[in-house]
Symmetry: C2
Subunit: 605 residues, 2 copies
Amino acid sequence: MKVNVRVIPLDRELKLKTGDNLRAALIEAGIPLDSPCGGQGTCLKCRVQLAGVSRRYTELEREKLSREELDEGWHLACQVTVEEPGEVRLPEIEVSRAKAGFGLLGEEIALQPNVRSVHFEISRPSIKDQRADWNRLAEYLERTIKRPVSTDLSLLRELSLRLREWNFSGEAVVVGDEVVALDPPGSTADILGVAIDIGTTTLAAGLVDLNTGKVVALDAELNPQIAFGADVISRIMYAQDGPESREKLQKELVKGLNQLLLRLCRSARRKKERIFEATVVGNTTMLHTLLGLEARYIAQAPYVGGLNQSYDLPAIELGLPIHPRGKVHIMPSIASFVGADTVAVILAARLHQSRVPRLAIDIGTNGEVMLATGKGVLTASTAAGPAFEGGRIKYGMRAVKGAISSFQATPIMNYSVIGGVAPRGICGSGLIDLVAELYRTGVLDQKGRIMLPAEISAGELAPRVRVREAAREFVIFRDEDREVTLTQQDVRELQLAKGAIRAGVELLMKEVGVGADDIQEVLLAGVFGNYINRERAVALGLIPPFPLEKIHFIGNGAMDGALRALLNLEERGQAEKIASEVRHIELSGRPDFEETFLRCLSFGN
Amino acid sequence: MKVNVRVIPLDRELKLKTGDNLRAALIEAGIPLDSPCGGQGTCLKCRVQLAGVSRRYTELEREKLSREELDEGWHLACQVTVEEPGEVRLPEIEVSRAKAGFGLLGEEIALQPNVRSVHFEISRPSIKDQRADWNRLAEYLERTIKRPVSTDLSLLRELSLRLREWNFSGEAVVVGDEVVALDPPGSTADILGVAIDIGTTTLAAGLVDLNTGKVVALDAELNPQIAFGADVISRIMYAQDGPESREKLQKELVKGLNQLLLRLCRSARRKKERIFEATVVGNTTMLHTLLGLEARYIAQAPYVGGLNQSYDLPAIELGLPIHPRGKVHIMPSIASFVGADTVAVILAARLHQSRVPRLAIDIGTNGEVMLATGKGVLTASTAAGPAFEGGRIKYGMRAVKGAISSFQATPIMNYSVIGGVAPRGICGSGLIDLVAELYRTGVLDQKGRIMLPAEISAGELAPRVRVREAAREFVIFRDEDREVTLTQQDVRELQLAKGAIRAGVELLMKEVGVGADDIQEVLLAGVFGNYINRERAVALGLIPPFPLEKIHFIGNGAMDGALRALLNLEERGQAEKIASEVRHIELSGRPDFEETFLRCLSFGN
């Protein structure tokens, strides 16, 4: 049975199935819930306040939540089973993120946007002062904002009537140096902006009130380009078919963005025509597909795209449904596989201003590694492959209902499944858990080979290894209908991903002579970064053996960076500096890459 | 019978009627023939070289042309009657005007256009140099032309393929700071520009090869807006009906420009897609209708338009069929009735650089008066009205076939008719001649009153005055079918026009204390300016009693100014300076205007 559940403050209406796990259902609906433990009920970050939805508390909730919280209707979303219609208020951390003047990471961002509303009261024309209307307005605005202004033909066409209707006063909305709209004097109409992060898999956007700096709505949407391939390489291959395919990719992406923007505006009860600027981050390929640029050379050595600079253009050229004279600011990229999303993560995490060594890893289809040395930032892109997103894994899947999201081997084998149903597959966090535990218990050796039952000491696990067509696999689940297994090939895929990322980390550290002990903080970014188990990532050797207290999740740092650039021109300038000053290390060009990569394929630290 | 006549170097094919006067037919077809005497065979400027068309010479031609000229087939167009198909080569002065690097007035213009083709040979990308394609090209161009460059999305979309196809070299066409096209290395494709003068009645355009500075074709076309009113005020009235009317005016104008551009390109055998920039002059109202701006406040005190500044925009926004990324530069205006055409005349005549007092008058529906004092330029706009273009005159008409174009009263009454047919009406030059001669012979008194036959001493003329319904008129021509007369009301209309222009001249001179003797040169501009009889204009009092040798015709000075701005950025900068520094005197705001205007209504000097 389906019930209506309203999500506050996003003001989204979801149709959820009774029996669904609330956390999984929210994530599946694209609502970024901060829950680093992956739904195991240990991080306590997925707090939500319910009215309706479920009237029961689990034992874990009674144990972990305070008397007061329970009285106020707070739950742990991962523990809630949907039972009836109702409202979900997102956790306190989400609300605080939406506080005026603060970025998603909770840091204050001074309000100095590229969009501003300037009040004007200009002298009426007379025989003694026959300046034309635009000359008159432009001169006033230039005196006020101390820079030359320009405008578009369509605004000039309405200018003369408006000035007279409003007795030569009003509010001019200026984006950069262009007057894009005129409002009547004293108008309190919204001045909005939107920050957009175009991921290979997920589109995310934050709607911002540029008068207050407050993020008024946040939302996400699947990238509709997924229909043309799960990773950037397959998208590039598709686009290579010709200009029509390129156009199709672009159109689909814009369609997805339009849906997302419409939903954002509906949920925040704002008008999309009052959005005057969009800042956009994303990996280089996604930005190429957004702009409709030729991307094929990104995928061929020496891996060079068409455009890495920041780029400003009218929203109408992309078909974005904001104000008809609204602007789009595409943030700069560093290299073909180190995009504006990485620039934004560096900006958000202040890596470029760090005086001590800090490491950041943005794990996705490509893993971007960033190393702040204290004197500058180095980046490397690693071809992690889609394993962490379920790609090329026999039973791999995204973190949705039916996915094994965590696993423990001992004392008894146990795993949790999103939605609390029988498992259908394994998602990224489950895969890391699974492989880490099988390695710890000797089911896998250091080289990643699945042992034969006779070689395995852990009694309960040994019988689960079988050999099919000369290939070994570990059976996690089996009933009459189906099974979920981890194959030898799956382990190899994970090793390739893990080896690539770890090699990137190693080589960047080696490049500047920074040891693991020197690094003061390790930041894991990306939506995915929120769900993996730190301890097991270290045990597996995905990251060097850092003390766990040094490892922090920063969620969607890229979105935070895009918000910063929207709210503050100073930050936008810093992004330019980052893009031009960050040293990108092309790993495939290094003589020591092969050897390091091969070594990093092994498990353990 | 109609015959085909080809016009060289315009390469236009005309269908002319046998029996037509060649000069009149060329003018009717919009080909600007320099013939200040108005076709009387005295100025000898309408020389054309014929192959076919006519095989006869008139006595006047035999007398005025040299043996050599006659042998080479030179004729005076005003003396030629079309008899058979053939070719007309335009007079030497037209050809010299089209010489590379020279403006229409024969002055040299250094070639420093806003459009340039820049050769590039950039390093190929490598693992050590992974700059994106645009970054790589932009950095190269910026080093070469020493300024930042930008580009449009559509060019970025083709960039990567082109660079590889051409092995990272080629020719970049740059307009201002924007790269608008890429050509293969060594390309010799044309780099063209076009200068456009939008008159209330006539659209004129000159196509220029920007590699050589040569004007490769000149042509003109009736402004199709004429269907919505003959003068600017009636166009403004029409546009006031609403946005649809405004759009209609704009569309019609652009349609006319498109026809003109297509014809220019066909005649010069050039591709319109190779035109990268258009410079546009015109009166303020015409520029408003071109841009689709609200023009109604131009016509209401205090006479203020929407835009007087220069304005750059993509040609595609106006629908001009040049290169899809080509640009339009609208030149700046001074005031609502002193447009960019006046700025262009000042530029062409170098009034702004004049160290001695010089006067220029551009006579059209509005007469613009310009006075260079030696220290600066003053302008005034006078509401001359359409009398000189045949408007509000009972038998008024444009200077086409059947128009009386010159008149003399004594010793015997005589007049010439364009096309050598029976007169159908009177054009501007004929009207001035007619009124000046009737005043000289006492048929008109100084106040412009038509005398009664008994009061007239000139015997032949007296019987031609008659009284109809209490109004006096002078009968010029009469047969069974029709008559052509000059009515008392016609004389009043001419007086208003003459009074307005003369008052403008007087008041500007008074404003700065410059007397007629101080003025070293008087320039008459506008196509119309080429046809009036200087002596009679002085006799009538249209202009102060300057010595005839000080009075010169400069033809379409506005077009020359537009060409200058197209060919040379320095000139374009001077136009900006002219627009901002010229002192516009609003005549209607002066206490002495009424008195001066009334005094100037009288004939004589």
